[in-house]
Amino acid sequence: MSQSRAIVPVQLAIGVGVLAISAMLGYGAFLFPEEMGFVILGAYVYPYAVAVFLAGVGVVLCFQAVTGGFRELADHDDESAKVVPGGKAGVAWVTGGLLGVAVLINLIGFVLSAALLFACSARGFGSRHPLRDLAIGIALTLPIYWLFNAGLGVSLPPLVNAWI
């Protein structure tokens, strides 16, 4: 660590984030409705304890972040680690695929939306054959659908909705 004593903004943000969670826990517990009758340990006590614990952790994290960064980071985790080329486009595809499945699964059914997720993720990880990927996706999800529905009784949403 050559740049000791330096402030590391991202890590400071993490520390502040932890403090914010702690504050929200405390504030939320403050708003709990009053309990009736004999209460040995109210619903707010344990959340307060967690909030105090997180506040302590957050303070030390912030302190480390402004005095040269988190201690004992593995080599690959230090500030100099760079996003690999194409990494951002890759995560965009995967994130988009997952968002898509969340939105579409109730509309176009499990098989199609999961196959779409498969194709998007494959694209994110570097595949360049969207149609082939989609076909593999369907070939993978169809048997799963039948296995889960017939074999395990875990019902997944319909194959395709009736109106398609």
Partner: protein, 502 residues
């Protein structure tokens, strides 16, 4: 005598065709995911949790245990042939085993890893058979105060020992405890931290968090930060170990087992420490120190045999606290606990009495599983290596599809899928800055338990907080907690020293 009779009963149930089949499927799956990078036992069991709705508990738990075991077996194959350790606990295997493979001794390295895992697994299962009932009997005397103290101890150990920094471990634990708070408070009936979202009233499922952190987080992280390594594969060589290999392996296996089992069974956070301890022990004791990686040697067989045995023994050891106290000491054990809970089975001292048949069938299946794994791994190693030819895009896309099924299958909610994505991004951040993941899972599972025990303890003592210090057993556990806060510094100093030598 009592134990033998119970165990015999367990065997007769574990050897029925249906249970054998579950064991076989589990071992098969476990080996496969152990070989494949990017997918571990915790994730696999998490994805398969929905089957608990349909399959009977004995079969499902036998399968899950097989996955847990099998992953340890399979992991060594990748480490030795490809030098890509799947988990931190197989790092040492990658070190020495890959060196051996580079020098044309891949076969003996694989053999000593597999046979060592078998020996360690079997010896550790014997130890489990002997000790678990004793621990369970002891634990029957525990009241809420003792349980609370044990939970505090487990929180501390899991966060303090895993990962490089105790502070970041505690941060992860705090996040886990926070997630555990969300939902209905069972005592007061107050909905806590639900933000008015109806989906949150039931709380957040452990599977969702595990899948988000392990599958989605891992996939996103590897896209962002992992360079594709053009690692060459090493040629296989004959699996036969020479007489000298055997002579050097056997003591290393036994030492590794003896180091691994106790570390697994105390809540000391996974298989990392025992494998490193075993490695440094073997290096000190070896008659051929020149062969070790640190001395630019050709790879020492003890350096594979000992840590692999320790690795497997600690996996078995972690079943002791899980079954007798209901306390998981690793991420996979935490998911196994969730599986028990899906069946309304509460692991703990009473489990041996209320569900004795199931427990002993599970233990018997561990003996059988070890044999299955040995047979699956050694002769078929060539087949497993072929799994690595699945192209990276399809492997990862497949994992994500399974993650989606696992999460969506639980309660058919799109909200859960969005939550999984968000937690996945949180996982990327955690991985990026070296926050350990397991404390999150342990915190969210055990947090509510801790609160319940705390309340019970205080209502028995009529609000007197000193009960935790005046009860000898609970005071002892709390003292141990203090120790845990200090000891990792010493152990980590050793672990880091090991790195510096290399």
């Amino acid at each position: 005598m009592d134990i033998l009779a119970s165990l015999a009963m367990g065997f007769s149930s574990a050897l029925t065709p249906i249970n054998l089949m579950w064991g076989f499927i589990g071992c098969l799956l476990g080996t496969a995911i152990g070989v494949l990078p990017g997918i571990g036992p915790a994730l696999t069991v998490a994805l398969l949790l929905p089957i608990t709705a349909k399959v009977d508990p004995t079969g499902a738990l036998i399968m899950f245990a097989g996955i847990y075991y099998g992953a340890q077996f399979g992991g060594s194959t990748t480490s030795i042939l490809l030098n890509t350790p799947g988990e931190s606990s197989s790092m040492v295997t990658a070190l020495e085993g890959n060196l051996m493979a580079r020098n044309g001794r891949a076969g003996p390295a694989l053999a000593t890893a597999a046979i060592g895992s078998f020996v360690a697994g079997t010896v550790a299962t014997v130890l489990l058979t002997l000790f678990a009932p004793i621990v369970a009997k002891l634990a029957l005397k525990f009241g809420p105060a003792e349980y609370f103290a044990i939970l505090v101890l487990s929180f501390t150990t899991v966060s303090a020992v895993l990962g490089a920094s105790m502070l970041r471990g505690f941060a992860s634990l705090g996040i886990g405890l926070t997630i555990g708070l969300i939902g209905l408070d069972s005592t007061s009936g107050i909905a806590r931290y639900t933000l008015g979202v109806p989906e949150l009233v039931d709380g957040i499922e452990v599977v969702l968090v595990a899948v988000g952190l392990f599958a989605v987080g891992e996939a996103l992280y590897s896209l962002l930060y992992q360079k594709e390594e053009a690692s060459g594969r090493h040629r296989m060589s004959s699996l036969w170990m020479t007489r000298a290999d055997w002579k050097r392996s056997v003591p290393a296996w036994l030492r590794g087992t003896l180091i691994g089992f106790p570390f697994g069974s105390i809540p000391a956070g996974g298989a990392e420490i025992p494998t490193f301890l075993s490695y440094s022990t073997e290096r000190k004791l070896s008659k051929y120190p020149k062969e070790f990686a640190a001395n630019k040697g050709e790879g020492a067989i003890e350096g594979v045999a000992g840590p692999e045995a320790a690795n497997n023994a600690s996996a078995t050891g972690s079943l002791v606290p899980l079954l007798t106290l209901g306390i998981p000491t690793s991420a996979t054990a935490a998911i196994l606990l969730a599986a028990f809970q899906n069946y309304n089975l509460q692991p703990g001292p009473l489990l041996f009495e209320t569900s004795g048949a199931l427990v002993w069938t599970l233990v018997a299946s561990l003996y059988i599983g070890n044999v299955i794994l040995l047979v699956l791994n050694l002769p078929l190693v060539g087949l497993w290596v072929k799994l690595l030819q699945i192209p990276r895009p399809y492997l990862n896309a497949g994992i994500l599809v399974f993650a989606t099924i696992g999460v969506y299958g639980m309660r058919h909610s799109s909200f859960d899928l969005l939550l999984m994505l968000a937690i996945g991004w949180g996982g990327v951040l955690m991985r990026r800055f070296d926050f350990p993941v397991a404390p999150v899972i342990v915190g969210m599972l055990l947090g509510p338990m801790a609160e319940k025990q705390l309340r019970n303890a205080l209502s028995i003592s009529e609000g007197d907080w000193t009960v935790f210090l005046t009860q000898p057993i609970s005071a002892a556990f709390l003292a141990l907690t203090l120790l845990v806060l200090v000891v990792p510094h010493l152990l980590h100093a050793r672990g880091i020293k090991l790195h510096e030598d290399d």
